[in-house]
Amino acid sequence: MKFDLFTLKKYDYKKIRNLKDNVIRKILFGFGATAVIFIIIILVFLLIEGLPFFLEGDGIDFFTGDVWDPSSPNTPRYGILPMVLGTFLVTLGAIVIAVPIGIGCSIYLAEIAHPKIRETLKPIIEILAGIPSVVYGFFALIILSTWIDDLFNSTTKLNALTGSIMLAIMMLPIIISLSEDAIRSVPQEMKEASLALGLSKWDTIRGVVVPAALSGITAAIILGVARAIGETMTVLMATGNAPVISFDMLSSMRTMTATIAIEMGEVPFGSTHYHSLFAVGIVLFAITFIVNFIADRVMKRFREKY
C-alpha cells in the first residue's frame, strides 16, 4: 500500500512536470509568433490607411505626377516622382562615395592591416554605427553644409550632395563590417594556392580573394543601400527638402522619408493628404522590402558557396 502510494505520487509529479512543460511550450510558441503578427499588423495598417488614397481616384497621378503640392487649396497634387527621384539621387550619390571607401577599408582590414590596427579600427567602426542619425543630421546641417558651400559655391547650402555624403558615412559601417566578414571567409587555401603560383599579394587580393568574396561584398553594399533609402533624420536635416524634379546634386531635394516626417505632424487626421502619406509609406516599404530581399538572396548564394 505504501509502495503504491509512493509510485502514484511520483507518477503525478511527473505528470505535473510534463504538463508544465507543455504549457510553457505553448506560451513560447505564442511569443515566437509575435514577429509574424507584427509584420502582418504593419502591412495591414499601411494598407488600411494608404488604400483609401488610391480609391479616391488619384492613383495614376500619384505614380506619374511630377508635382507634390498637397496643401494647395484649389488643386492639391500628389505626384510621388519628385520624392522617388530625390531618394534615388541622394542614395546614388551615397553609393558612389561609400562603395570605394567601404571596399577599400574592408580589404585593408581583412588582408593588410596589422592585427593591432585592426583591433582599434573595429571599435571605431562600431562607434560610427552607433551614433544616432539625428547627430549626423545636425553635423550636416551646421558644419558639412558650410564646407560644401565654400567648396562648390552652391546656390543652396542644404542640397543633395550634403545628404549623400552624410548617408555615405552612415552606410560605411554596414558595408565595411559585412564585406570584411565576406573577405575573411574566403578559404585560406585559395590564397595560398595563388601565392604559391607566384602571384604577388596584391594580385592575389585582386584576382582571387575579391572575386571569391564578391557576392558577399555585393550583399553588404545592397544592405547599406537599404539603410540609406530608409534613413530619415539625416536626409531630413541635410537635403533642404524642396520637392522638385532636378538632377543637379547641388540643388535642394526631398526624399520619401523626409516627406512623411515633415508633413505627418501637420495633416488633419483622415484627410486625403493623411492617406497620401501612408501611400508614400507603402511605396517606401515596398522598395526597401525588395532591396532587402535581393540582398538576402545574394548573401544566401555567398554562404552556399563556402
Binding site: K20, C105, A113, P123, E126, I127, G130, P132, V135, F138
Partner: protein, 284 residues
C-alpha cells in the same frame, strides 16, 4: 617589375587611406560636438528645465523623457524578444511556420524607421486610442528593436554547446528545465549585449517618436505613461531646424547632442565590455 612594386605601393596607400578616412570622420565629428558642447555641460544644465524659449536653462525633461522611454521600450521588447528567440532556437521544428517567423524577423529588421512611425501612429495612437504618449512611442520603438534583440539572442543561444542540453535531457530534465537551468545562464550575457545595443539604438531614434508622442516643449514632466514627453533626439531635431532663433539655441543643441552621445556610447561600451568579459570566461 619595378613599376609593379610602385603600383602596389600606391594601391596599398590608397587602401590605408580609406581606413584613415574612417578614423578622421569619427575624429572630426567628435571634435566639433565636443568643442561645441563641452562648455555647456554643467550640473544646472543637466538638472534644470529649459527657460527662455530653450535658449537657456537645462535639458532635464529631455533626459528624463529619453531615459523613461528607453526603460519602457525595454520592458516591452525584452521579454518578447528573448522568449521569441528561445522558441526559435530551442523549440521550433523546421517547417513552414518556423520559416515564416524567420522571414518576419528578417523583414522587420529592414523596415525603415519612419514606416514604424506611421504604423505606430495608425495603430497605437489612433486605433488603440493611446494618444500621443510615452506608451505609444515605447510600443513603436519596441517593435522596431525586436528583430535586433531576437537576432542577438538567437546567436547567444546557438553558441551554447549541444552536449549541455543533451546531458540535462539525459538526466531526466524536461525541455523547459533544460532550457531554463542549463542553457539560459550561459546565453544570458550574449542576450544582454544585444539588448543593450538595441536599447542604445532606441535611445537615439527620432523618426518614430515624432509621430507617436514626442513634444516640442512642455512645462511639466510627463505625469503618467499616457502623457506626452520631451526626448533628447526630438529636441535636437526641432531646435536645430525649427527654432525661431537658431543661433541662440545652438549651445543648447550641442549640449543635448553631447549628452545623447554619452548615453549611447556608454551603453555601447558596456555592451562591448560585457561581451569581451564573457567571451573570455566561456570558451567551449
Amino acid at each position: 617589375m619595378k613599376w609593379k612594386t610602385i603600383k602596389e605601393h600606391i594601391i596599398y596607400s590608397l587602401l590605408r587611406l580609406s581606413g584613415l578616412f574612417i578614423v578622421c570622420t569619427l575624429a572630426i565629428l567628435l571634435f566639433y560636438i565636443l568643442s561645441g558642447g563641452i562648455g555647456k555641460i554643467s550640473w544646472e544644465f543637466l538638472t534644470n528645465f529649459p527657460t527662455n524659449g530653450m535658449m537657456s536653462g537645462g535639458i532635464f525633461p529631455m533626459i528624463l523623457g529619453t531615459l523613461s522611454l528607453m526603460t519602457l521600450t525595454m520592458l516591452i521588447a525584452l521579454p518578447l524578444g528573448i522568449f521569441s528567440a528561445i522558441y526559435l532556437v530551442e523549440y521550433a521544428k523546421p517547417g513552414r511556420f518556423t520559416n515564416a517567423i524567420r522571414l518576419a524577423v528578417h523583414n522587420l529588421a529592414g523596415v525603415p524607421s519612419i514606416v514604424y512611425g506611421l504604423v505606430g501612429l495608425g495603430l497605437f495612437v489612433v486605433f488603440l486610442g493611446l494618444g500621443l504618449s510615452l506608451v505609444s512611442a515605447a510600443l513603436t520603438l519596441a517593435i522596431m528593436v525586436l528583430p535586433i534583440i531576437i537576432a542577438s539572442s538567437q546567436e547567444a543561444l546557438r553558441a551554447v554547446p549541444q552536449n549541455i542540453r543533451e546531458g540535462a535531457l539525459a538526466l531526466g530534465s524536461t525541455k523547459w528545465e533544460t532550457t531554463c537551468h542549463h542553457v539560459l545562464p550561459y546565453a544570458l550575457p550574449g542576450m544582454l549585449t544585444g539588448s543593450i545595443l538595441a536599447l542604445s539604438r532606441a535611445a537615439g531614434e527620432t523618426a518614430p517618436i515624432i509621430m507617436t508622442g514626442a513634444a516640442f516643449y512642455m512645462t511639466h514632466l510627463p505625469s503618467s505613461i499616457f502623457d506626452e514627453f520631451m526626448a533628447l533626439p526630438y529636441s535636437i531635431y526641432t531646435l536645430a531646424t525649427q527654432s525661431s532663433n537658431a543661433e541662440a539655441t545652438r549651445p543648447t543643441v550641442f549640449g543635448a547632442i553631447l549628452v545623447l552621445l554619452l548615453i549611447v556610447l556608454c551603453m555601447n561600451l558596456v555592451a562591448i565590455i560585457v561581451r569581451n568579459y564573457y567571451r573570455k570566461k566561456y570558451r567551449w
